[in-house]
């Protein structure tokens, strides 16, 4: 479903030549699976996911979503993915219904099907009471719900969550994680980036630990625990990062 091969992304540093944000990253994600991308802030998670969503172009490497190359056919890729980030991206002067409807139309859903779909989503996510509320007047939790609704309005086979729970309270995070789990059960292919170990343990089928643009380890939780003889994800994570620090001096 998602295939990333030798992905590298470089930015022109303002005065320091070139900065490599993602360095030769490869992984695959299959349908019905949650792939966790675990890393500190600035490790390259967001850059990686932005390339998957075609907002950034890769410097080198091949990225395919549902068999479509992100460089060659970005529009087609965008219509097959849903992307939700920590930044809720809700318009202040639009109601919940208008917002989701607007994106539904941008995704080219026929008008009659769109209304049914909207009604269904609003029902499932229990959003009917905020249907006509303006974005500026919503709480963070409500905004997050609208964000999820917007992400799945076109029923995409691939969904990307970029730190969806950062800055949320426990209750809302829990709701978001439940929604993600439900989507996996529907057979979606999901990438989930986070720096919170608990979420990874609870949710992810497979994880990749990423630091300074490189994948340090990849596999199911059990595989990793076995390979590094460390059952605790958090310990494993810090071990790996420490080892990497020793390898390359800052």
């Amino acid at each position: 479903m998602i295939r990333v091969q030798g992905l590298t992304k470089e930015f022109a540093g303002p005065r320091h030549g070139v900065f490599r944000a993602v360095d030769d990253v490869s992984f695959e994600v299959r349908p019905g699976e949650i792939f966790g991308l675990l890393g500190l802030n600035g490790a390259g998670k967001t850059t990686c996911l932005r390339i998957l969503s075609t907002v950034l172009r890769p410097t080198r490497g091949v990225v395919e979503v549902d068999g479509v190359n992100v460089v060659r056919d970005p529009e087609k890729v965008r219509s097959r993915i849903g992307f939700m980030s920590c930044n809720t991206g809700i318009y202040d002067r639009m109601t919940a219904w208008e917002m989701v409807e607007y994106y539904g139309r941008l995704y080219g859903i026929p008008e009659d099907r769109l209304q049914d779909r909207l009604a269904k989503i609003f029902e499932t996510l229990k959003m009917n009471e905020i249907r006509d509320r303006l974005g500026g007047k919503m709480s963070t939790g409500m905004k997050q719900k609208v964000s999820i609704a917007r992400t799945i309005v076109h029923d995409p086979p691939v969904i990307i969550f970029d730190e969806p729970t950062s800055g949320l309270d426990v209750l809302v995070s829990r709701a978001v994680l439940e929604a993600v789990a439900k989507l996996r059960d529907q057979g979606k292919c999901i990438i989930f980036s986070t720096h919170i170990m608990r979420e990874v343990e609870k949710l992810c089928d497979r994880i990749a630990i990423i630091d300074r643009g490189r994948i340090l380890a990849e596999g199911t939780l059990e595989e990793l625990a076995e390979r590094y003889r460390q059952p605790d994800v958090e310990e494993l994570f810090f071990d790996l990062i420490q080892r990497r620090d020793e390898e390359i001096p800052v």
């Binding site: 470089e10 930015f11 022109a12 540093g13 005065r15 320091h16 030549g17 070139v18 900065f19 932005r50 969503s53 075609t54 907002v55 950034l56 172009r57 529009e75 965008r78 219509s79 993915i81 992307f83 980030s85 930044n87 809720t88 991206g89 809700i90 318009y91 202040d92 002067r93 639009m94 607007y102 994106y103 139309r105 941008l106 995704y107 080219g108 303006l134 917007r150």
Partner: protein, 812 residues
């Protein structure tokens, strides 16, 4: 492109803007309310202003002749005022004699009583006398003979007492003090006698003047003075008339000039001239304001709120998003402009109606005709399109709405400057102006609104104006779209700026070649130096030694103002001046190409600028430039010196700056084409005089391409040297009688011109060279991108190759 997506984005943005109270307020409510309120304010002010009375004190008024009588019970007699009964009550006249109840008009609040005023006036008068004895009037006579008109107190011996006088006058509550000299009536009577008897003699001697004191720095005093002066002059005419009549002289002698002033403009045309100034200026400023605030919200605002990324992830393409936003901005831009003009026009009409005749006689405010209004709307569209696209690009470039708003002030100032320039009556539409942005629309609109016979001729310019404006709009739109596909612009975040750390990092962390802002700064520095030099580096071209002086100035200018900034910045701010200034051994082919192109480009460039002057696109060269050129022709200076000054010096200095530091810096981002275009525009701007600037910009393109192609500065120096040397030789040869070269002929002014048939192969050669260079550069760029050509190495080969995969070494 999917129109459905553009429509979706457009509709959403419009709804979003309409839901925003601030935007709505600035764009709709403000104009609708502002002008009526402003009009009301003006009306109020005029009413209260008209109510105010100014105080005039007349000392020694019993000395005035009875017929014609200057004063009556009310003050100055009504017949002496231009506005008659309307104007008379605005002056309150207090007479020293206190005669006929004129001092008994009821006092208004804040006004001093007649007794106090007379007291103050007397003390002022005695001050005159105490400072200067009795001869103030005598002295005034002398001054008046020297310079007729209003006398300043400084001209008299009053200088020392002036401050004191000023203070006392201000405190007295008197706006104008009229002092009738003693014996005035008698003197006047004597003069009349003399005229009647037609006897000659110096009657004016010892005829003391009436002294009128006012303070021009005080508005009230100035207004009262103008009224009093008018009344006095009319009264003087009446005296003269009486005297002439008594002496049975013809009345016509009063005004022997016999003028009749005839105004042939129709009433609408006079009114049009008010609108023709106001409307274009308002149209330009309002369409910019409307575009700007909307664009900031749609561009920087969207980035700031984090919704930009979400939108970019939708299947809508960037072009579609930009177009949707652009259409929204243009809608609000046009809407704001039209609402403002409508509100302004209607307020004007309303004021005319409520004021009646009084106002309409001085200012006519009828709206211009239907046709002119239609033109306004037609011209508004490309103007609004240009502003909308430009603002959208700026707003996208800005990291935050705050940063976006900083861009408004310079933009507004440039646009205001251009508009002000167009308001000057001496500026008329020319082919050049018809293709300048903003200026073209404002000038055309002004002409069309004037509704004069000349405006019919202006319609010819409508096509170039519309086409060029739309061209600029497309260009700006292309820029906006380009910005939307640039990751560094879309995802850059607002960072803190600290001047000190910025400067230290500037000096400590150096790269091989300058950064983009450094290149721009270098250009600005050169420009500022040129500007500063305009005042203190102008050689005296009239003197006997002027030829040498001009030459010396040119060399100094080139060295100090062009080469120095670039070389110093290059040494200070980069680690590899060699890469920055492209100091690399060129290939033989590049050098040959440079010489060949210079030889063939000169005739083309020369004939092209002749053609442009003949087509009146550019004005002819200014007088002093032609003079300087004729000096070269006259041949006082040795030829080698001229070649050194006009060819060698600029070739080295300008190339170091423009193809060296500036082009290397601009090309840093890897966008060679844009870097070449911008550097050539900068090169043009430095040349100041329009046709030279245009030529230089074209040559700058060629030179930039040559520098990038050859990766060396030497071919461009060679080209520049050859080109300028040929120009110098050609000018010199024009001065020699009977001198002839193949391919050339002499025109009536004696200048050597090139035959048309020679230009064709020259053009072909040039075209071939350009195509060859562009293809080579594109091929190299492609290879480099694919990593086939080795990128940056320790030993910098040239500045084109620096956008490498490897991080550049920095200098800590």
């Amino acid at each position: 492109m999917n129109w459905k997506n553009i429509r979706l984005v457009f509709l959403r943005e419009v709804r979003d803007q309409l839901r925003d109270r601030r935007t709505l307020f600035i764009i709709t409510i403000l104009p609708v309310l502002m002008y009526p309120l402003l009009g009301l304010g003006i009306v109020e002010m005029m009413l209260t202003f008209g109510e105010q009375r100014h105080t005039v004190v007349v000392l020694n008024d019993q000395e005035l002749p009875a017929v014609p009588s200057l004063l009556d019970e009310q003050g100055f007699a009504i017949q002496w005022f231009e506005g008659g009964a309307d104007d008379a009550p605005s002056l309150r006249v207090v007479r020293e004699s206190g005669a006929e109840g004129s001092n008994k008009t009821p006092l208004r609040p804040g006004e001093a009583s007649p007794e106090q005023l007379i007291e103050a006036a007397r003390s002022l008068a005695s001050m005159f006398r105490s400072v200067h004895g009795q001869d103030t009037h005598e002295e005034l006579n002398l001054v008046q003979q020297r310079a007729s008109g209003r006398i300043r107190a400084q001209d008299l011996k009053l200088k020392d007492a002036q401050e004191e006088l000023n203070r006392r006058f201000a405190q007295s509550g008197i706006q104008v003090l009229v002092m009738i000299p003693p014996g005035y009536q008698k003197s006047l009577h004597q003069l009349e006698e003399m005229v009647r008897n037609q006897s000659s003699g110096n009657g004016a001697a010892g005829f003391p003047p009436i002294l009128v004191v006012s303070n021009g720095a005080d508005d009230k005093s100035a207004v009262a003075f103008a009224r009093v002066r008018g009344a006095l002059l009319r009264w003087e005419n009446a005296i003269r008339e009486n005297t002439f009549a008594a002496a049975s002289l013809p009345v016509e002698l009063q005004s022997p000039g016999r003028f009749a002033w005839l105004e042939i403009a129709r009433a609408e045309q006079v009114s049009a001239s008010v609108w023709s100034k106001l409307f274009p200026a308002m149209l330009v400023i309002m369409s910019l304001t409307g575009a700007f605030y909307t664009a900031i919200d749609l561009g920087a605002g969207e980035k700031e709120r984090g919704t930009m990324e979400t939108l970019l992830i939708s299947p809508a393409r960037r072009v579609e998003i930009v177009l949707g936003k652009f259409l929204t901005i243009i809608l609000f831009s046009i809407g704001t402009a039209i609402l403002n003009l409508l509100s302004m026009g209607i307020t004007g009409q309303q004021m005319v109606k409520s004021f009646g005749s009084g106002l309409t006689e001085t200012v006519r405010l009828e709206l211009p005709g239907m046709q002119s209004l239609l033109w306004m709307v037609i011209l508004l569209i490309p103007l609004a399109a240009f502003f909308s696209a430009l603002c959208l690009a700026l707003a996208t470039f800005a990291r935050s709405t705050k940063e976006g708003q900083y861009y408004l002030t310079p933009l507004l100032m440039v646009v205001m400057g251009l508009t002000m320039f167009c308001l000057s009556p001496s500026v008329e539409m020319t082919p050049l102006y018809s293709v300048l942005p903003v200026v073209n629309v404002a000038l055309l609109l002004r002409g069309l609104l004037l509704d004069s016979p000349q405006s019919v001729g202006l319609v010819v310019y409508a096509i170039p104006v519309l086409v060029s404006s739309l061209g600029y709009a497309m260009l700006a739109l292309w820029w906006a779209i380009d910005l939307y596909s640039r990751e560094d612009v879309l995802f850059r975040e607002a960072e803190k700026f600290d001047l000190r750390s910025w400067i230290t990092s500037l000096i400590r962390t150096k790269d091989a070649v300058p950064a983009f802002p450094e290149a721009v700064f270098c250009f600005v520095l050169i420009l500022m130096l040129h500007f500063a030099a305009m005042t203190w580096l102008t050689p005296d071209i009239s003197g006997p030694n002027s030829g040498r002086l001009i030459l010396r100035t040119i060399v100094v200018q080139q060295l100090v103002m062009v080469a120095c900034p670039a070389v110093f910045m290059g040494l200070l701010l980069t680690t590899s001046p060699r890469a920055t200034f492209r100091l690399r051994k060129p290939k033989l082919i590049s050098m040959l190409l440079a010489v060949g192109m210079a030889v063939f480009a000169f005739p083309l460039s020369y004939e092209f600028s002749h053609f442009l002057v003949a087509q009146r696109v550019f004005p002819e060269l200014p007088q002093h430039v032609r003079e300087a050129m004729s000096r070269i022709q006259s041949g006082h200076e040795p030829l080698w010196l001229l070649v050194v000054v006009y060819a060698l010096t600029p070739a080295i200095c300008e190339e170091l700056a423009f193809r060296g530091f500036i082009l290397s810096g601009l090309a840093r981002g890897g966008r060679l084409a844009i870097a070449i275009v911008i550097s050539s525009m900068m090169f043009g701007i430095i040349h100041m005089i329009p046709q030279q600037a245009f030529n230089a910009a074209l040559l700058g393109l060629l030179l930039g391409l040559l520098a990038v192609y050859s990766r060396s500065l030497f071919p461009t120096i060679t080209f520049h040297l050859c080109f300028n040397a040929i120009a110098t030789l050609q000018t010199r040869a024009s001065g020699i009688e009977g001198f002839m070269v193949p391919f050339c002929w002499k025109d009536e002014s004696g200048a050597i011109r090139f035959h048309g048939w020679f230009l064709l192969p020259a053009g072909c050669f040039l075209l071939f060279s350009i195509v060859h260079m562009i293809r080579t550069v594109i091929r190299e760029q492609d290879l480099k991108r694919r990593g086939i050509i080795a990128a940056y190495s320790e030993e910098p080969v040239d500045s084109n190759l620096l956008y490498s995969q490897q991080p550049l070494p920095s200098a800590h």
